[in-house]
Amino acid sequence: MKEIRLKIDGREVKGKEGDTVLDVCLANGIEVPTLCNLKCLTPVGACRLCVIEIEGEKKLNTACTYPAREGLVVRTNTESLNKYRKRMLEFLFAERNHYCMFCEKSGDCELQNLAYKFQVYNVPLDMLNPKLPMDSSHEYLTIEHNRCVLCSRCIRACDEIVGLHVLDFSKRGSRTMVTAGLGDPLKGSPCIACGLCMQVCPTGAIFDKFSSYKFKRKDCEKISTVCQECGLLCPIDAYTKNGNLVRIEGSNLDDFRVQLCRLGRFDVIYGKPPRILRPMVREGGELRERSMDEALKLVADRMRANFPNVICVASAKYPNEILELFKRFATDVLGTMYLDSFDGEWSRAISRSSQGSWVELGHFVEEESGYSIGLSKAPYGSWEDAECGFNDIQRADCLISVELGFKVQNPIHSQIRRAVKGGAKLIIVNPGDDPLGEWASIFLKPSRGSEAILVEAISRAARGRAVDLEDVARECGVAPEALRSAVEILRASKRCIAIYGAGLVKVGGSRAVSALFEIAKEKEMVNGRFGIISIKPSSNTLGAWRLMVTSAEGIPSQKGKGPRIVYALIGDDDSIDAKFLSNLKPDFLVVQSAYRSPATSMADVVIPATTWLERGGELIGQDGRRHLARKVLEPPAGVVGEAEVIAELSKRMGKEIPIPRAEGIGVEVKGR
C-alpha cells in the first residue's frame, strides 16, 4: 500500500493509504481518546471523543472516520479539543446512571479512565437520573442500560464478527437502548453466548453477573494461551486470581479471532461438573476412595502380571508431550502393540480417503475411476495439509456444510455467516437441526444414516457423473428440487469449500470424505490449498496422529490369551464414548479422568486427571499448525499431573522413562 505523509501535532508522521487519521495516530504512538473505536470493527464516530482539528476545515472531525491523506495537517491535543472532550464526558455522566462504586467494571472501565484523564471530578450539568431497566434474563450476560454510552461496539461486534446481529438500538434520543430484537430480553434471542459484546463493552453496560467483583485486571494474573476445548485453539487470555480462574477473553482484539464460544468463555469457568479428587478402586463391586499409592500399586501389579496384554488408549485432547510419554510407556515399558487414541477411527478414515491418499502421493492425480479407497499402505503424509484454513472461508463463493457437530456455535459458524452475508451460497447437509439452517440457500435434511449416500450423490452429480437424483432424494428423504438446486449451485461455483464434521466420517467413513474431497479437487484452490475443511474431533487429533499414538490399523477386538487390561487416559475429554471401552472387553480397566462419566463407572481403578487449563504443551490444531498452550491453573489438591503418574507407574513397573520437559519445550514429533 502506498505510503503517505502527514503532520500530526507538529510531527511528521507516515501512514498508509486507506488509513484513517486515528490509524495513523495509533501507529505513531499518538494517543487519541476514544470510546467507540476498535480495530476489529468498522469505525462509526459515535462517541465524539476522538475529535481533531484539520487545518483548512472549520468543523471538528472524528479521527476514527477521517481518511488520512498526503499532506494533511492535524491537531489532536489542543486546549479547546480537550475542553470539548471533557464536556462530552460530562454529558455522558449526566445522561445515564454511572455509579462506579458498585459497578463490577470499575477499575477496568474505559469511560472511568477517560474521566480520570480529563479530571471529570464533578458534573456541572443537571443529572438526568433516568430509570432504565437492566436485562439479566440471560444465563451469563447482563445488559445494564444505565451504564450504556451507546458506542455501538457490541452491536457492531455481534453483526460484523459474529454475524448474528442480535443486538441493535431500540427507541430514540436519550432513551436509546441496545437490545436484542425489538426491545426483547436477551434470553430467547438468537444470542449464542459467545460473550464478545461483553468483551468489547467499554463500560459496565454488559457484564457477566457471576464474576461478581472477582475480576479486576489489576488484581489478576493474565496468561495468554489457547483454548483447548476444540481444535480451533482460539487464542485466549486467561485471567486468574489467587490461583482461581476468573475470566477468559479473546486475545486478539485486532481481528475476528477475538470471538470465542460459550464453552471457552463461560462454561469452562461456570459450567463444569465436580472433579474427581482422589483415586478410586473397585472393591466388592463399588468404587472406593483409596490413596494414590494403593491405586498405583494395584495398577502396576495387574499390568506387570499381564503385559504385554495391555491396551493403552488416550484422548487426543492431550498435548503432544503427554501423548509422547504415554506412547513410550506403552511401547517401552509395557511393550504392547495396542496403542490408540479415542478418535483414531476418525483419523484412519480420513487417511484412507482420497484426501489422505492424494497428499501422500504428493501430486495431482486425476482419478477417472472413482475414489481411491482401501489403500494397502497407510498414508504417512500430512494429509491435513491439503485443507484450507477456516480464515479462508471468506474467499469461497459456495460453502457446503455437512453436520459440523459442534456442541455450541463458535467462530466457524460466524465465518460461514459472514461469508453468506458477503454473497456466498451455503448448502447444508445435516440430518439434525442446524444452527446455520436459516442462513442456508439449500438445507438438505437426509434421514439419519443416509447423509453419506447423499454426499456421495451430490459429489458425483456436481462433477458431472451419472446419478439418479430422484432416486437418491427418495432414499435419503430430501426434496428432489432442493437436491437438484444444490447440485446446480455446486456446479456453478468456482471456489467452493466443503466443511464436514465427525458425524459424516462416522457414518460414511473414508468414502464420504473422498466424495467431498473430489468436489474440492475440481474447484479452484483457496489460498493455495483445497477447498475442504474437516472438523477434527479433538483439540490435538493431528498431534496424536502424527505422533503415532493413533494406531494406523486400530485395535483388534478379538481377545488374546489371558486377561485384557485397558488403560484409558481420558483427562477432561467429555466426548469419550464408553462403548469404545466396553467394545475392548477389558478384564481390568484403568481410567484416568478429571470427571465422573460412564467410563469411570465401568472402571476398576480411577485415577484423577487434569483439565486442559492445568496443563501446557504443544498441540496441532484444526489448521494443521503447532500451537503452544500454557498452563493456566495448578491442579486441585489431590490431582497429580499425568506425566508424574505415568512416570511413577513406569518406576513401579521397573523401568524409568524420562518425563518430557514441561510446557513450552514441546517434543520432537517424529513419525507421520
Binding site: M101, F102, E104, P133, M134, S136, S137, T142, K209, F210, S212, Y213, K214, D219, K241, N242, G243, N244, I269, Y270
Partner: protein, 490 residues
C-alpha cells in the same frame, strides 16, 4: 461560653413560665452520624419525655430493588463508612442463603478475620475517638479540646494506643480487601481474595501487641466505668447472637433474648425467622424506626443490642482472656444482666479483646492462606435470603427477596443502631431526669446527654440507610408545640 448557655437557658425558662410542656433540643456531635435530641419538660419543669431524632434517610430499602444479588454486598456496604464490613458480610450471608451456597471453610475464616478487624477498629474508634475524651478529660473539659486531639495532647501514650488499635483493625481489612473503607471482599459464595503469607506474617507480628493493648484498654475502661457516679441504668430486653453453647458469637449462631430481669424468653431462635419476633414502629419525630420484641409489645419490648446486649445474653466468651474479663463483668450485674448504660464501654472493651484474640486464632489457622475461597453458585435456589450477623453495634439483619434472574425484588434492612433507638431515648431521659429539676439544669447536661447516646455508639449513617442527619440541639416548646427557645453552645 458556658455562661451564655446558662443565660440562654434562663431566657427560655422565663419564656415558658406561662406553663405548658417545653422541649430542649441538643445537636449531637462526636457520634457517627447526625441526630437531635428534644427533651420535653412538664409544667413543673421536670422531664416528661426525651426524644432522639434522626433526620436523614437515603432509601436503600427502595433503591436496591432491581439491582443484582451479586452487587448487594458492594452496594449495601455504602450504607455505612464506619462498619461497611458488617453490611457486606450480612449481605453476603443473605446472598449465600438465596443461592443455597455452602461457602468453603477458608472463605468463612477469612470473612471472620475481616469481621474481627472490623470489630477492633470500630470499637477502638468508639472508645478512643468518641467516648474516652469525655471520660478521661471530663465532661466539663474545654469544648475545643474534649476530643481525640485533646487526648493526644494530655495523654499521648493512651491516645496513640487507641490510634494504633484502630489502625490494626483497618490494616486487617486492608490486608484482606486491599482497602480500608468500603472494601469489596465478601461476595456471594465466599470472598474474592486470599490472604498472602506475607500479609499474614505482617499481621501476626503485631497481634500480641494488639492483644496486650486491648487488655490494658479493658483495665482502663473497667476502672473508669466502675467509678462513674451515674451509670444510667435502664431496664430493657437484651438481644444478641449466641453460639451452640450459649457463648458470644459475632458471625453466625442463633438469637437469644432475655427480658429485663434476665429470664431467657427466646433461645436458639433461628435468625432467619426474625419477622416472627421482631417488629418495627415509626414515630413521627424521627426517621429512625423503633424495632421491638413482638411478644412483649411496643415500647415495652424495645431491645438493647450491641456489646452490652450481647454480653448480657451470653454465657461466656470463647477466647480465654476475654472470657476471664467476662466473668468479672458479669459480677457487676444481677442475674446475668448489667443494665448500666455506661457499661457499654466496658463490654465494648472486652469484645475488642475477644476480637483481637480471635484474630490471632484465625491467623494461626492453617487454612487462612488457602486459595479455596469461593463456591461457584449460579442458581437462585431460594427466593428469599436472610443474613444476620452481630455488627460492632449489634444485631444486623439483611433480608432480600430475589427473582429467578438474580435481581432483587425487595429488601428489608434492620441495623444495630435502629435496634438501640429506644435505648438511646430511654438513656437520655434517664440522664435528663436526674439533672433537670424544676426546669433547672447545669451546662454539663449537654455533653452528658450526648455521652449517654455515645454509650450506644450509634452509627447514624447505618441507621439512616433509610434517610438522615443529626446535629443535637435543645429546644423548648410549649404544650401546644410553639417554639419558645433553643439552646446553643456558643
Amino acid at each position: 461560653m458556658d455562661r451564655e448557655v446558662e443565660t440562654e437557658m434562663g431566657g427560655m425558662r422565663s419564656a415558658s413560665s406561662g406553663g405548658g410542656e417545653r422541649e430542649i433540643r441538643i445537636p449531637v456531635t462526636r457520634i457517627e452520624g447526625h441526630g437531635k435530641v428534644t427533651i420535653v419538660l412538664d409544667r413543673d419543669g421536670n422531664v416528661a419525655d426525651a426524644r432522639f431524632h434522626v433526620v436523614q434517610i437515603r432509601g436503600f430499602e427502595k433503591f436496591c430493588e432491581g439491582r443484582l444479588l451479586w452487587e448487594m454486598p458492594v452496594i449495601t456496604s455504602r450504607i455505612c463508612g464506619i462498619c461497611p464490613v458488617s453490611h457486606s458480610l450480612a449481605s453476603a450471608k443473605a446472598c449465600d442463603a438465596a443461592l443455597g451456597a455452602e461457602i468453603p471453610s477458608p472463605a468463612k475464616k477469612l470473612r471472620l478475620l475481616l469481621h474481627m478487624g472490623q470489630v477492633i477498629q470500630s470499637h477502638a474508634l468508639s472508645l478512643f475517638y468518641l467516648s474516652l475524651p469525655d471520660l478521661l478529660l471530663g465532661f466539663d473539659y474545654e469544648v475545643e479540646k474534649r476530643n481525640i486531639v485533646g487526648l493526644l495532647e494530655s495523654k499521648p501514650e493512651l491516645a496513640k494506643r487507641g490510634v494504633g488499635l484502630r489502625k490494626f483493625g483497618q490494616e486487617v481489612i486492608e490486608a484482606l480487601a486491599g482497602r480500608r473503607v468500603h472494601p469489596t471482599f465478601a461476595i456471594p459464595g465466599g470472598v474474592n481474595g486470599a490472604l498472602s503469607q506475607e500479609k499474614r506474617d505482617k499481621l501476626m507480628a503485631q497481634i500480641d501487641g494488639v492483644i496486650e493493648s486491648a487488655k490494658s484498654t479493658v483495665e482502663l475502661v473497667k476502672d473508669i466505668c466502675m467509678r462513674q457516679d451515674d451509670r444510667i441504668p435502664i431496664k430493657m430486653y437484651n438481644m444478641g447472637l449466641i453460639g451452640r453453647n450459649g457463648e458470644l458469637e459475632l458471625y453466625d449462631g442463633e438469637l437469644r433474648i432475655k427480658d429485663p430481669r434476665g429470664n431467657v424468653v427466646e433461645d436458639g431462635f433461628n435468625p432467619s425467622d426474625y419477622l416472627m419476633i421482631i417488629g418495627e414502629r415509626v414515630e413521627d419525630w424521627s426517621y429512625l424506626k423503633f424495632p421491638y420484641y413482638r411478644w412483649a409489645g411496643f415500647p415495652k419490648g424495645s431491645l438493647r443490642v450491641g456489646p452490652l446486649g450481647r454480653l448480657n445474653v451470653a454465657d461466656g466468651i470463647p477466647t480465654p482472656l476475654a472470657d476471664g474479663e467476662f466473668r468479672e463483668f458479669k459480677g457487676v450485674g444481677e442475674n446475668g444482666i448489667v443494665d448500666g448504660t455506661m457499661f457499654y464501654h466496658y463490654a465494648r472493651a472486652i469484645e475488642m479483646l475477644h476480637a483481637a484474640e480471635k484474630a490471632k486464632e484465625l491467623l494461626q489457622d492453617d487454612e487462612i492462606c488457602s486459595k479455596e475461597i469461593w463456591a461457584e453458585a449460579k442458581e437462585i435456589r431460594n427466593s428469599e435470603g436472610i443474613g444476620v450477623i452481630e455488627a460492632p453495634r449489634g444485631t444486623l439483619i439483611h433480608h432480600y427477596w430475589v427473582n429467578g434472574d438474580g435481581t432483587i425484588r425487595k429488601a428489608n434492612l434492620i441495623v444495630a443502631t435502629v435496634f438501640n433507638n429506644m435505648g438511646m431515648n430511654l438513656a437520655i431521659r434517664e440522664v435528663a431526669s436526674k439533672r433537670i429539676r424544676g426546669g433547672r439544669f447545669d451546662e454539663g447536661i449537654l455533653n452528658r446527654v450526648e455521652h449517654a447516646i455515645r454509650c450506644f455508639d450509634p452509627c447514624l449513617s447505618c441507621s439512616t440507610h433509610a434517610i438522615g442527619q443529626m446535629p443535637l440541639s435543645i429546644q423548648i416548646i410549649s404544650e401546644d408545640g410553639e417554639v419558645l427557645g433553643e439552646i446553643r453552645r456558643d
